[in-house]
């Protein structure tokens, strides 16, 4: 049963990922991304991380990809692109090198830490996870208790990003009005 769930979810993730890079229509690519995110949510559920799965669907599928689609529709780039014309000729060989490098690093990381995989590494207590609300309680203790400093730093980072975006968007406008 677990193998079956894994195979189906993995097929969803990989199929979606291939779809993202092969579909020439941006909206179809975004929809493939949704498929990938759903596959990951299924994986989360099958590993007893139901809260992460719900957040994955609410935040990534429900908000971020919706924003992608918004931008695609508002900018009117929702037509099939002709990918044969390449304005910056170096970027394709460069992309090939970078992706090969990333794949190499990931494989190296997996190979070098092979013994550690599948071994419990602390954090959540798996034995009590089936109790009601245990998932969210344990996660909350970890985030707001043991790792509260990192959590607060992350939220400050997000806030800075938001303020920076607003500032950049405004400055361009007032310069234009000043001229």
């Amino acid at each position: 049963m677990e193998l079956f769930v894994f195979v189906v979810a993995a097929a969803m993730v990989l199929g979606g990922a291939i779809g993202v890079i092969t579909r020439s229509n941006p909206v179809h690519a975004a929809l493939s991304l949704v498929l990938t995110l759903f596959g990951i949510a299924v994986m989360f559920v099958s590993h007893d991380a139901q809260f992460l799965a719900a957040v994955q669907v609410i935040v990534y599928a429900g908000a971020i990809v919706v924003l992608f689609l918004f931008v695609i529709m508002l900018l009117g780039v929702d037509r099939t692109e002709d990918v044969n014309i390449e304005p910056i000729t170096v970027q394709r060989p460069l992309a090939l090198i970078v992706s090969a490098g990333v794949v190499g690093i990931v494989i190296a990381a997996v190979v070098s830490s092979r013994e550690l995989l599948g071994r419990p590494v602390g954090g959540l207590d798996k034995t009590t996870l089936s109790a009601p609300d245990a998932n969210i309680r344990q996660l909350a203790r970890e985030i707001f208790g043991n790792n509260v400093f990192a959590f607060e730093l992350t939220s400050v980072l997000l806030l800075v990003a938001v303020v920076g975006t607003v500032l950049m968007a405004r400055r361009v406008k007032s310069n234009g009005a000043g001229k």
Binding site: V34, F51, A54, L129, D133, K173, S174
Partner: protein, 408 residues
Amino acid sequence: MSSLFAIDPLLEDGLLWTPLLIILIKVLVVFVVGLVATMLMVWFERKVIAGMQNRVGPNKAGPWGLLQTLADGTKLFFKEDLIPERADRLVFRLAPYLVLVPAFLAFAIIPLGGDFRDGKGGIVTLFGHETRLQLADPPVGVLFALAISAIAVYGIMLAGWSSGSKYPLLGSVRASAQMVSYEAALGLSLAAVLIVSGTLSTAGIVNLQSSIGNWNIVATGFVPFFIFMIAATAELNRPPFDLVEAEQELVGGFNTEYSSIRFALFFLAEFMNTITMSALIVTLFFGGPQPISIGDTTLDIPLLPNAIEGTVWLLLKVLVFLYIYVWFRATLPRFRYDQLMDLGWRILIPASLGWFMLLAAQRVGRDAGWDQTVVTLSTAIVLIVGYVLLQLAYKVSRANREQDGASF
């Protein structure tokens, strides 16, 4: 694998034939009840609104016009199914299902009955197996409903885009912007309920609301309920937030190019969502299938077993909200788009966030044994300061925009 279904006591011994049969029956009942309820809801809305407008309403098909929806549905089935020439055919066909399926899925987590009295927790015995009268009680509970309503945006967005024409595209961008905006207020007022009840599970939330004083509408201090109600109405695209259906002013919305059964699916999903949302409101704020009781006295329906009585109470409470939704439609004029966005972003989201903070502070204060009046007062002062700062920010940004030459 058993931990996947964990909370339903039915599945503790692994998958057996009888539990599997019970689950299948539950799925079938939820699906059929959903469909029939939708059919009756369309009739109910037309009949009630006709009464409010001094008309008769549907009265030809069946007794009191009850079968009118069936007749309309059959008619829509035999209409020509048009696909615009410039449509994205695959997505155009997919979109109605992306709206319909979430509408049905969200119904799965609503407790539809059961005996919640005397600490029984809504568990009933069917064929010698203990179970709950709800299709699923996932560990993420009501977050499931939020996730589902997040998915429902896709159907509307893609329906408008895939039509390949500009009015549906504009309509779908408008509708999905509305739904995404109000989802924040919806989630924040839901969080107020969660902080009071301390559990995510819908059965658990219902279980805690044993009498009117314990109902979450009282326990959360009324404000989250009103915010939730308004945000839910906007999320459903129902009047007064039904810009999607403003054919006269805005050339309709995302479904302009849809005809025949595909249009019927959108229509069905909308009414289905209204029922689901009413049931969710009842579950979250009004004790779901719990009987109405004040203090120790409980209104008991005689001759009915308690488990079935729960279903009757749920039905009655949901009917009240369905009636309120129809009443809204008959009474309130439609919002303009900028008014809609103002209400969502500048009033509902700050208000729900502030109220959430207040409840959280009280909760922390209670756990730490602080004086509740001091906690409430200091939180109120912080909230007032925050409100003043927010108003100042609006003023500054308005002045800046006017300096840039904007007229709004």
